[in-house]
């Protein structure tokens, strides 16, 4: 017989009380772990979805503004490109150190060319990348599926008086209109969008690239580092983060994280209170025997040790089972909250067990101290 065994035996004697005390911890920690795990997964899901929503880095040729004039007479200015981007640059971009953070690198090629007798801007983009590069586009008809098809911006469709199924002719070549974009309010509204190879052939510029759009995975948003590495790989290019996109994503994720922390904190506070009250009641009931133990020579430290072992056992068992239940609950409900690939988040579970133990032991301090300070006679009288 030692203090630990005495505590363990007492738990078995008061099974219902032990279960009730443990239930408070179980529910508190279970809810905390479920919420923390779910919000962590949801945060990741939101992050992934935001990352999929367009690019956050733009790569254009480095240009210089030249002012044109003679003496005091100004004739405006022009931009002079120091170098041009080429298809080969894509390989260089994929060769940077943080290449695993690059979700997509999409080359765009722009040119002004004839379209059924009207001079319009043609935008070439790999047909397979359009959905990823412009996920917000809404199309009447269908997207480009193969070479020889075009999408018309809403204004271009009006100017050409063409719709899905129509034909646009350029350089003696006919392109089928696969679909028409809904108005976007952007420059695309006046453009003809086609597969990259088609636009390059219309312009007679095979391998030409006007700019690259890069979608970098924004977890922890190391965009500046990625920008610097791409800049190093393409010294003739101007690489810039689309700051608004980066900041808004960070803000959205931070907001979600704060919500998760706030809800978890409230649940934890309520759980903590439950633990405190139940442990307090349990220890209070336990004080009846403390007089006897004091009378037979238990020191205060031994009484404290006994009570801490009791709540320690309960806290460990119930917080561990609560954490497991919380993880299971999070896994079960995660798909209903937009998490496509639910996973086991061990950090919230471990934190939950630690918090459960902490709350249980913390809740024991005031009643245990009172019990230890109780006069043996007073305690014995209550028996």
């Amino acid at each position: 017989m030692n203090i630990r065994k005495l505590a363990w035996k007492n738990l078995f004697r008061r099974k219902s009380r032990a279960v009730f005390t443990g239930l408070g911890i179980f529910l508190g920690i279970g809810t905390f772990v479920a919420l923390a795990s779910l919000t962590a997964q949801m945060e990741q899901a939101v992050q992934d979805k935001l990352d999929r929503f367009g690019a956050n880095i733009l790569i254009t040729p480095r240009t210089e503004q030249l002012s044109l004039g003679f003496g005091d007479i100004s004739l405006g200015g022009t931009q002079v490109a120091h170098s041009r981007l080429t298809a080969a640059d894509e390989k260089a971009i994929h060769g940077i150190e943080m290449k695993e953070r690059l979700r997509s690198v999409v080359p765009f090629f722009l040119t002004a060319a004839d379209a059924s007798g009207k001079n319009l801007v043609w935008m070439g983009v790999p047909a397979t990348e359009i959905a990823a590069a412009r996920p917000w586009w809404k199309i009447s008809g269908s997207p480009i599926r193969e070479k020889g098809e075009v999408l018309l911006g809403s204004e271009a469709a009006v100017a050409l008086e063409k719709g899905p199924g129509g034909t646009v002719v350029s350089g003696g070549r006919a392109f089928r209109v696969a679909g028409v974009l809904h108005p976007t309010g952007e420059k695309e509204d006046g453009m003809v969008i086609a597969a990259l190879g088609d636009v390059r052939s219309v312009a007679g510029n095979p391998g030409g690239v006007t700019f690259f759009e890069v979608a970098a995975l924004c977890k922890d948003c190391p965009v500046e580092d990625i920008v610097a590495q791409i800049g190093g790989a393409l010294p003739g290019a101007r690489v810039s983060a689309i700051r608004q996109v980066v900041e808004s994503r960070k803000a959205a994720v931070d907001q979600f994280r704060r919500l998760g922390i706030g809800v978890s904190a409230i649940v934890l506070a309520i759980g903590g209170l439950m633990v405190f009250v139940t442990v307090m009641g349990s220890v209070q009931e336990r004080t009846r025997e403390i007089g006897v133990l004091r009378a037979v020579g238990f020191r205060r430290k031994a009484i404290l040790s006994l009570l801490f072992w009791e709540t320690g056992w309960i806290s460990l068992l119930s917080s561990a089972s609560g954490a497991l239940a919380g993880l299971a609950a999070a896994l079960l409900v995660a798909p209903h909250f937009g998490v496509e690939q639910a996973s086991v988040a061990t950090s919230p579970a471990l934190l939950g067990v630690a918090i459960g133990m902490g709350l249980g032991l913390l809740g024991t301090i005031p009643p245990a101290r009172r019990a230890a300070a109780l006069s043996p006679t007073e305690a014995i009288r209550s028996l």
Binding site: I3, G297, F298, T377
Partner: protein
Amino acid sequence: MDAFIRLENVTMLYGNNGTSAVALREVSFSVGAGEYVAITGESGAGKSTLLAILGGLQVPSSGAVLMKGVDLSSLPADGLADFRRETIGFIFQAYHLLPYLTARENVMVPMSPLRTSAREKAGRADTLLASVGLSGKEERLPSELSGGECQRVAIARALVHDPPVLLADEPTGNLDSSTGEQILDLFSGLHKSGKTVLMVTHNRANLFRATRSIRLQDGKVAEDDPLMAPRQAL
């Protein structure tokens, strides 16, 4: 006989805010080593309070209690606990056994904080249970034992540290006369083995076994008769 226990003007007041009740009034007496003292008195005379003060369970409002030359009021709470463990064995009227522990485990409880091996503790408990006639009942819970057997377990528990002093508060109060006699036989045996016994009792038969009787009345020592005077004492 040298004083083993000495009370000097012990007064105990209960209550506060001006509504105090006096449990003991300037009680003074000495007890020599190996004495068997029966403490008697009517209900409310202060017997149990006296026993609690003697055992260091309660601190008197004034006065001093010296045991083996140690002033109990000078000891801190843990010092008193150590002193109780080493010097005093308590036996209560209601046994106060822990209901979820077997007889053996109940006897082992006072040894719980010690670092002695479990086998050694169990061996000591079994020896003591055998000495009070409970061989073969070591594994029984208090609910499976009779009142007399429970009190025997409580006596074995009180003896676990081999204390020189036994304080018993109405140890036969919950027992029938025949079982009570058996318990008193045990006390007589312990007294003969050299223990100092102080017993609060209403049991007339017990007064004949004691070597001294102290009668309390209204918190004062009304009689202190080493020659025994059971009729007056009751």
